[in-house]
């Protein structure tokens, strides 16, 4: 290494003029030029290069401290790594080239500074800065119960002209609606306000904020949105009284065409055998078969058609109409 640098300095010196610290070496150069012969072509006019000597690998003990040889990330040095490693495309009928003068081994990142012994040493030094996870929160259920709001954010590490990544500002806020204090009307209004951001299967509301340039701002904005949604859904506006049947989220059997139809049919069949009027209808409503019919129809409309629901509807209809 040192020989290289001194050679470079010497050549510079000859072109531009003697460098301050190297007067003595320049004098040595002129003296050496006079003595060397034509056979010394590559090193003519330069200090004779001393021998490289034996590589350090031969002097290494088997039980040496490897963390001292490679304490930090460094390129591969064939003279410092006592392993006969070969790398590269093999010569025809031969083997991959050896480690001395092998560029492939220098190009690829090596983990010689991160051997298990080194990792253990580093972790021992880092241990005092770590804290323990609270032992009471061992299951996901307990975590959800005490800490229902989940804030997700992403950080990016990469090499480039800039450290910043604009996607790092995005924040997702996830919360289960069952953990918020909402009554029936508030929940329905919240679902209408939020629209697609709610997943029915998992009961999770996801708010994604990316409108502010900084992550902290987006985080505050997401919490602000949640607060506003919560308080707005508890409010009842005057125009909410105009909610029609088409706006309803769930099917309710009371005052529906199905109720009218079944009561009319039963009255026509003269099941009760008494006079007509409101009392008859009320009495019919109170009957068990009619209640079963009501349950089956509600279930069909809300959950959709499936084997179970259709069977239940069939049984209820048979009972009501005495088939």
């Amino acid at each position: 290494m040192a020989a290289h640098t001194s050679k470079a300095f010497l050549s510079l010196g000859r072109i531009t003029g003697p460098v301050l610290g190297l007067h003595s070496s320049l004098n040595r150069v002129t003296y050496a030029t006079g003595l060397s012969g034509k056979a010394d072509f590559p090193n003519r006019g330069k200090k004779p290069r001393r021998d490289a000597g034996k590589p350090r690998t031969e002097k290494m003990a088997v039980d040496q401290d490897w963390t001292a040889v490679y304490p930090a990330a460094a390129p591969f040095r064939p003279g410092s790594v006592p392993i006969p490693v070969r790398m590269g495309y093999p010569v025809k009928g031969g083997v991959p080239p050896e480690k001395n003068g092998n560029l492939e081994l220098i190009k690829i990142p090596n983990f010689l500074h991160l051997t298990p012994a080194a990792i253990k040493k580093h972790c021992e030094a880092l241990k005092p800065f770590c804290t323990e996870w609270p032992s009471a929160l061992d299951t996901h259920g307990k975590c959800d119960e005490h800490f229902p709001i989940k804030m997700e954010s992403t950080d990016y590490v990469s090499a480039g002209t800039s450290l910043r990544n604009p996607s790092a500002r995005i924040v997702h806020l996830k919360v289960k609606l069952s953990s918020l204090n909402l009554d029936d009307h508030a929940r329905k209004k919240m679902l209408k306000l939020v629209g697609e951001r709610y997943c029915k299967d998992t009961d999770v509301l996801t708010i994604r904020t990316d409108s502010c340039p900084l992550k902290q701002q987006n985080y505050d904005y997401a919490l602000y949105l949640l607060t506003v949604l919560y308080h707005e859904s508890w409010k009842t506006e005057a125009w909410e009284a105009e909610k029609t049947v088409a706006d309803m989220e769930e099917y309710s059997w009371e005052d529906s065409p199905s109720q009218k139809n079944i009561l009319d049919t039963l009255v026509r069949m003269k099941v009760a055998g008494e006079g007509e009027g409101e009392e008859l209808r009320q009495e019919l409503l109170g009957r068990r078969e009619v209640q079963d019919y009501k349950d089956s129809v509600t279930r069909l409309k809300n959950e959709g058609e499936s084997e179970n629901t259709m069977l239940q509807y069939r049984e209820a209809v048979k009972k009501v109409l005495n088939l």
């Binding site: 990792i119 800065f129 990016y156």
Partner: protein
């Protein structure tokens, strides 16, 4: 001349990692991103420890001193580290390093898996002018590795991530997604309309 230079280089790098825990700390403080609350604040400089008043004893052997504060630590339900690189062997080694570090620091590992690689291919003209029939094709392969940690505290996550990121090899990129858990804020526990019904309704009717 070569030997002393190498030794001094080693000493400098040693200083960077082992003795320079306090320096790690200072850089960590300045690089603090979303970790607003830290249970442990790393102190600045080791030599003038008398300027710091802290509850813990001053250890003369370790140059850095740890201050413990009462601020609640952030809790991460999941920390997902995705590393991307062009070479699968490098990612294998890095995964071994990251999983071993997690075990040494006592962090529970979730899934450690390899998402399928992406190959970007494109076809260019071989010559700068004409010869449309002769093209050359290039491809870029991106391999992935995902290491998920579960139930990590904010301080531990910061220590682990900083250590992992400082030892990220060249040519490898990383994305870290953290899921922090929080309590329901106090202003969302009860609707405010219950406290002041008279104030809000007239204002609503005015606006509507």
């Amino acid at each position: 001349m070569a030997a002393p230079m190498a030794v001094s280089r080693d000493i400098c790098s040693l200083a960077r990692i082992f003795v320079g825990i306090s320096q790690l700390g200072t850089r960590g403080l300045s690089a603090c991103r979303s970790h607003r609350k830290c249970n442990i604040i790393r102190s600045h400089l080791p030599l003038t420890s008398s300027t710091f008043f802290h509850t813990g004893a001053v250890f003369s052997s370790t140059p850095s001193s740890i201050t413990v504060t009462d601020e609640p630590d952030t809790l991460f339900q999941k920390v997902s580290v995705l590393v991307k690189g062009h070479d699968r062997a490098v990612l294998d080694s890095y995964e071994f390093f990251a999983t071993m570090t997690a075990k040494e620091l006592g962090i529970t590992l979730g899934k450690v898996f390899e998402p399928p690689k992406d190959i970007d291919r494109f076809t260019l003209l071989k010559s700068i002018h004409i010869f449309k029939k002769h093209r050359v094709q290039y491809e870029m392969r991106t391999h992935y590795r995902c290491i998920e940690l579960s139930h990590v505290t904010g301080c531990t996550a910061q220590v682990y991530l900083e250590y992992i990121q400082r030892n990220l090899p060249e040519g490898v990129a990383m994305e870290v997604s953290k899921t922090a858990m929080e309590k329901v804020p106090d202003h969302i526990l009860q609707p405010i309309w219950n406290d002041k019904p008279t104030d809000n309704k007239p204002s609503q009717s005015e606006q509507s």
